[in-house]
Amino acid sequence: MKKKLSEGLSALVKAATGIDGLDEITGGGLPTGRPTLVCGSAGCGKTMLAMEFLVRGATEFDEPGVFMMFEENAAELTANVRSLGFDLEGLISEKKIVLDYVHIERSEIEETGEYDLEGLFIRLGHAIDSIGAKRVVLDTIEALFAGLPNQAVLRAELRRLFRWLKDRGMTAVITGEKGDGNAITRYGLEEYVADCVIILDQRIREQVSTRRLRVLKYRGTAHGMNEYPFLISPHGFSVLPITSLLLEHGVSTKRVPTGIERLDEMLGGQGVFQGSSVLVSGSSGTGKSSIAAKFIETACKRGERALFFAYEESAAQIVRNMRSVDIDLQPWIDRGLLQIHSSRPTLQGLEQHLVLMHDAVQSFRPTVVVVDPISNLTLADDDSEVKPTLMRLIDFLKKEQITAVFTSLITSGDAVSAPEDTLLGVSSLMDTWLLLRNVEFTGERNRTIFVRKSRGMAHSNQVREFILSDRGIDLVDVYLGGDRVLTGSARVAQEAQERDAATLRGEDHERKLRQLDSKRKAIEAQIAALQAEAEADSEEVHFAIAQELLQQKATHRNADAMKHQRSGSTEQLEDVVETTA
């Protein structure tokens, strides 16, 4: 109260609990300086919640705390919370936590007149002062109702106690047993603690038990109204809140290669965005897990951490099977870069699985998470719950900038015509969707892959044949002949046929060239013959001319001789010879 006045009209001051998820639901934690009631039936985790609130306060927020217990003694409690990894003894010796076990044996007590619970106040006050506590847990104060005969006194004193805690500015958690019927608590503690009420619940459906948490009331502040599943894990209490209502996670433009070169090419040449979610769906035996394993191996090769949640195979089995497609995961497990968490989907409810994943992700801090397959998780649960819970997981991973690969088994016989129907609408949550199909043709089944969608990048619209062999994973172009896609040996046969045809065509060309060549040679020979003929002709002509000249000369000479003989001048004869020459 004092705190609120000092803050004026600003928002309520809250004390962070440090419990995963609870601070998100309550918008920052429990009301500072006020008591909070945590109630629920036996075994639903009230004490654990209260203890973690105290331990986190002492270790993370420098707020020491007092744990006053009425049911377990210090040794029992210390042993119980050790399973959550809390070292109570250490914290006690560091004066960060004080435990006080209040024990009342009804049969020993006799009422002899008026009394009050000042003894309790003194003890609590002393414990608070001894370490300067800011937080108090009373677990569970209802035990007093069984221990003390006079309920009127007790109720008056409880009212005084909660008032007193408020006056001292203690952020308190008071646990209470769930009452019968609609009663929140068996003894009506909610009458006294009216600021914040948290209800824990444990429900069993189809033999699977799920714990849930709900903030029933939080005076003066907005809070999540829904029921949130929670888990008590080796790392403590963990509540899984819906964060998807906000959709304000940052985005990355960094790309992560899938490890399959041709697949990266199909995804705009660089692979998927970091922090995006990838759905790999297909019927059984289409190679979903192999793609996921390749993705993981690639991440590990980059030196990043990866987490593999397997719901069908054990870790050892995965390692062995992946070796058959040239993916060796064992070295990465040995080097601590890869963790494989295998469990049966029916081990617990979907939400519990998600909380577990959440926890594993938080503690291992991977950059890549694979869930193989999500469709198995949904077996145990009602479909209507699957989408919101998966949404929570996807949003969480996005927030943490973790690239997630989910495989999903398509169970319908005809995966080609209606793959969407079998995916529970989760595909809309995914950024990239790779669809694997079996194509059965000419007596064999072959795998094909295509990118059904990929947000924010240019991606190929082509169907590729997807080949798994002992040399690894490869994608090859399918043969598109006429109106059908050919894969496998049909593709190989088609390719061979094309090759033969090409060879034939090549030979034909050569033949034509040779023909042309010889034709040219024939023509050249003809030209040479004609030239020779021409030369012969011209020689003949020259010869004839020369002959004629000679004849002429001879004629002249004869004429001259005759002229000379007939007493003509020499000069005239010479002129004649010159003219004819």
Binding site: H103, E108, E114, Y115, L117, G119, I122, L144, L148
Partner: protein
């Protein structure tokens, strides 16, 4: 109501030494009244064979913790066994006497509910 064999065998304590501890919280009216009441009872019924230790737990909170004190005032009888606790201002003498197994005339053997 018939006596059980154990009850029949248990003698009324008239010789045993009593060890009593009264835990009060400071000088409240109730504390002062409780101290006066228990002193009177001891003087009347246990004269010469009792130790009464009055503890102010507001001064010694550790004692409150170690002795499991919740209500105030609280009287604890540590001897003779069994241990018994009385809460209140010690104004209901009958109940204290029954509890201390000092009720005159053997009525102390009656179960509590019949008083």
């Amino acid at each position: 109501m018939t006596k059980t064999p154990v009850e029949a065998a248990a003698p009324v304590n008239d010789t045993a030494h009593y060890s009593l501890h009264l835990y009060v919280t400071g000088g409240t009216v109730r504390s002062i009244r409780a101290i006066a009441n228990i002193r009177k009872i001891c003087e009347v019924y246990l004269k010469g064979r009792y130790d009464l230790d009055v503890v102010d737990i507001s001064q010694d909170p550790m004692r409150a913790q170690s002795e499991q004190i919740i209500a105030a005032p609280t009287l604890i009888k540590t001897l003779p066994l069994p241990l018994r606790r009385f809460i209140g201002d010690m104004s209901q003498t009958d109940r204290i006497l029954v509890g201390l197994n000092l009720y005159p005339g053997g009525a102390a053997l009656l179960p509590r509910g019949e008083l």
